[in-house]
């Protein structure tokens, strides 16, 4: 594995992923604020949550890119379209399994069954995160596709 190439490409891809998600929120494609969603698991302070969440998301994206890189190395394939497909699979995983598990894993997320409590007050994402806007899946698929293809395009095989 080419460690320096992973560090660089993983960082760039994560920056693009974060920017794409933030832009799609700004454009009204989705209400989902991923840094806030992640950060609220760490702190109940909403201002700090955005900042903590941003940092956590950056590290998370960086760390996650290592899986992509391992697949690139295993298949010896770094074509951009291959990265794009990996990104779409990744997005599908996040939207289906990730979002389904989120109300259980996130310490501040409410559920339709129990309703909000003093600790769990955040709106659950629902199937494919549709609660956060009907176009949320589009935004997630596009940003992860960009993540995967940039990663593939920048990474140099060992």
């Amino acid at each position: 594995m080419n460690w320096s190439s992973w560090i660089l490409s993983g960082f760039v891809a994560t920056v693009v992923l974060s920017a794409a998600l933030a832009t799609s929120q700004g454009l009204g494609l989705t209400r989902m604020n991923l840094p806030y969603l992640i950060g609220a698991a760490i702190t109940h302070d909403r201002d700090k949550a955005r900042w903590y969440g941003f940092v956590a998301h950056m590290f998370n994206g960086w760390a996650f890119s290592i899986i992509y890189v391992l697949v690139f190395e295993a298949t010896r394939n770094t074509k951009w379209w291959f990265g794009l497909i990996l990104g779409l699979v990744h997005a599908l995983f996040v939207l289906s399994i990730g979002m389904m598990l989120l109300p259980t894993l996130h310490p501040r997320m409410a559920s339709e069954r129990h309703g909000p409590t003093s600790r769990r007050q955040l709106e659950p994402p629902g199937f494919m995160a549709l609660n956060y806007g009907y176009q949320t899946p589009i935004s997630v698929f596009l940003s992860h596709a960009a993540f995967g293809s940039i990663l593939a395009g920048l990474y140099r095989l060992h």
């Binding site: 209400r31 806030y36 609220a40 909403r46 201002d47 339709e112 069954r113 309703g115």
Partner: protein
């Protein structure tokens, strides 16, 4: 609390007729506001900010506007009041079976903990006997253009989406939903209560408040307002009225920028059934000087500094030219358009959004902005280099353009004229800049030009703004019409209030513009519109400044207080025949006038220096120090 089964959807309790404008109370969170009728119906709400499209607009159309009512079945309105020193509204209802209290508020962001971005909290409590409450919420978003589908989401509550945002309605008991409405009918016994929270966010995940925490949050919000009110420095004889006005102004201040909107509503008519319906949910620079003065003298220095800062930043893109009005974020307001859905208050059409006055030339705003900065400096505020540069730029613009005709303070859409008030404000602009320079707070490179043009303006106003036949200053140079803005000649220090010219101008205004009793029209129209509320407060202030005596001012103010509603709120105008409020409501400008008059009266009673004479005082102080300038 006894939990009973919800009954079927209730009939919407919307009255077929519109309540009087003065029947409304206001709640707000310094970002947006809601108007609530005496019947417990939220008939106006724009989210997320004052000038956003409406969620409820029954204020302008009973059928299509949308509303959220909480009322007592077979009950009547009993009384209402704000909790002391707050903007939390409490309305009491009574029925043969019992009494009920409804508490309404929009919590101000208390801290950084997880709370909804925008929220209305409503608490209804049975205070005696048994009370059957009925709740009907019918949101009609985007000024009634769309009916959102309300979805029940288990124990999370009811939600609906529109545009970029999601709305969540949470309640102690589940509401029945049907298409675009949600309803509940439930009997409460004495001591029992229900809680409701409607929230809005454009960020996901939304925060869904825990209803058990709402009573504590109501207390936190009440304390926030009480702490703010406790800073009020004014201890004069009209403290209650001044405090309510200050609280209303604070409520109309957009906390994220410091801008103050003129009113939270659009298109409440200035003439019933007519077309004088305008959108006032923007910030007029004209209000700047008087607003800053109020804030400074009432002890709200942070608000004054924030407002001045907003004003100088908001205008940066167009400087040295100034627009007449801006959005709360300093952008030009949208182009004026008319609603194709809302029929207007009591059929006063059209309902307008945006404001075409944005394209007008009103030279008086330069004087307002510069005077605001000068007041800030007068009260010890520092004018940094950026501010000084801006002020000099504005002064240079005035030097070049003061002789142009403009639309003037009353914004008629009939063309430009040489308004005396606009000239007065150009004189004020240059006079204040000269004064600041003389005090060493500003170093304009062309001070000589300022002095020369200031003197030319004085000469022009004194000659062409004065009508010998009428023995009065007049609205337009060389004209023979009067308007109430001439009363401000004293406030801005152009002419002493006790001078023979001002005295006879005052008499002429009284003769020509008197509406009913103590009220004044702003100018003569046919058919007449309502009496213009702030003009009467200008009159009171004129009397306090030396145009009359303290008793005359006091009597006039007490007479004017009869026209406020039961909560102490004023609209823009007052129907001269019925005494009802007209125009957008509540109106910041009127409350600014009330505070100003009360401050000047207090200063007069105490023998303190009045602000109208500040330039002169500053010069005298310098002269006493031996400064040759």
């Amino acid at each position: 609390m006894s939990v009973q089964e919800n009954q079927s959807l209730t009939e919407a309790p919307l009255e077929g007729s519109f309540p009087p404008i003065g029947d409304y109370g206001i709640i707000g969170d310094c970002r947006s506001a809601a108007l609530i009728s005496k019947h417990g119906s939220i008939d106006w709400l724009c989210w997320p900010r004052f000038d956003s499209p409406s969620v409820f607009a029954a204020l302008l159309d009973r059928e299509r506007g949308g509303s959220w009512s909480i009322s007592l079945a077979n009950g009547d309105f009993l009384s209402r009041a704000y909790l002391p020193n707050t903007n939390i509204l409490e309305t009491r209802f009574e029925a043969p079976s019992g009494t009920m209290t409804l508490t309404d508020l929009m919590p101000v962001r208390e801290n950084t903990s997880l709370v909804p971005d925008h929220e209305i909290i409503r608490q209804v409590a049975c205070t005696s006997g048994e009370a059957e409450i009925q709740v009907v919420m019918e949101p009609r978003v985007k000024y009634g253009e769309a009916t959102p589908r309300l979805e029940r989401r288990g124990n999370l509550g009811v939600r609906f989406c529109y545009g970029r945002g999601v709305f969540w309605l949470r309640s102690s008991l589940p509401l029945m939903t049907s298409g675009g409405s949600a309803a509940l009918r439930h009997k409460l016994r004495a001591g029992e209560s229900l809680l409701f929270s409607l929230s809005y966010t454009e960020n996901a995940p939304a925060v869904l408040p825990d209803l058990n925490q709402l009573p504590a949050r109501i207390s936190v919000c009440a304390n926030w307002w009480k702490n703010w009110a406790a800073q009020l420095r004014y201890q004069g004889e009209f403290r209650d009225e001044v405090l309510r006005s200050a609280l209303t102004l604070k409520l109309l201040t957009f906390v994220l920028s410091g801008a103050v909107v003129s009113a939270p509503t659009t298109s409440l008519p200035e003439r019933m059934g007519g077309s004088l319906n305008w959108d006032y949910r923007y910030c007029w620079l004209r209000d700047a000087s008087l607003t800053i003065r109020n804030m400074l003298e009432l002890g709200y220095l942070d608000e004054a500094a924030q407002f001045l800062d907003w004003m100088l930043h908001a205008t940066r893109l167009t400087q040295p030219e100034l627009r007449i009005l801006y959005t709360v974020f300093g952008n030009p307001p949208p182009r004026e358009r008319q609603s194709t859905v809302l029929g207007g208050y009591r059929n006063s059409a059209p309902v307008r959004f945006g404001n075409a006055a944005r394209d007008q030339l009103q030279l008086d705003v330069y004087g307002e902005v510069i005077d605001a900065a000068s007041l800030y400096a007068f009260h010890g505020g520092m004018l940094d280099r950026e501010m000084q540069k801006t002020l000099v730029g504005l002064g240079n613009y005035v030097v070049k353009h003061w002789n142009k005709p403009d639309e003037g303070i009353w914004e008629p859409r009939t063309g430009r004229r040489d308004h005396t008030h606009s000239r007065l404000m150009c004189w004020t602009a240059l006079d204040r800049l000269v004064s600041l320079a003389e005090q060493g707070k500003l170093t304009p490179p062309n001070l000589h030009d300022y002095r020369r043009n200031r003197d030319a303006l004085r000469h022009q106003i004194s000659t062409r703004g004065w009508n010998d036949r009428l023995q009065s200053y007049v609205s337009v140079l060389d004209g023979d019409e009067l308007d109430a803005s001439l009363l401000l000649l004293s406030w801005y220090g152009f002419e002493k209030a006790e001078s023979p010219r001002m005295q006879s101008t005052y008499r002429a205004i009284r003769k020509c513009l008197t509406a009913r009793g103590q009220l004044l029209y702003r100018y003569r129209t046919s058919p007449p519109e309502g009496a213009f509320a702030i003009c009467s407060f200008w009159e009171a202030e004129y009397l306090a400044l030396g145009g009359g005596n303290s008793d005359e001012c006091r009597r006039l103010m007490k007479a004017l207080f009869q026209y406020q509603n039961d909560l102490g709120l004023y609209g823009e105008e007052i129907d001269a025949d019925t005494g009802e409020a007209l125009g957008n409501f509540p109106q910041a400008f009127t409350h600014i006038g009330l505070i100003g008059a009360a401050l000047s009266l207090d200063q007069r009673v105490k023998g303190e220096q009045q602000l109208a004479h500040r330039a002169e005082t500053a010069r005298q102080a310098l002269a006493a120090q031996g400064d040759p300038s």
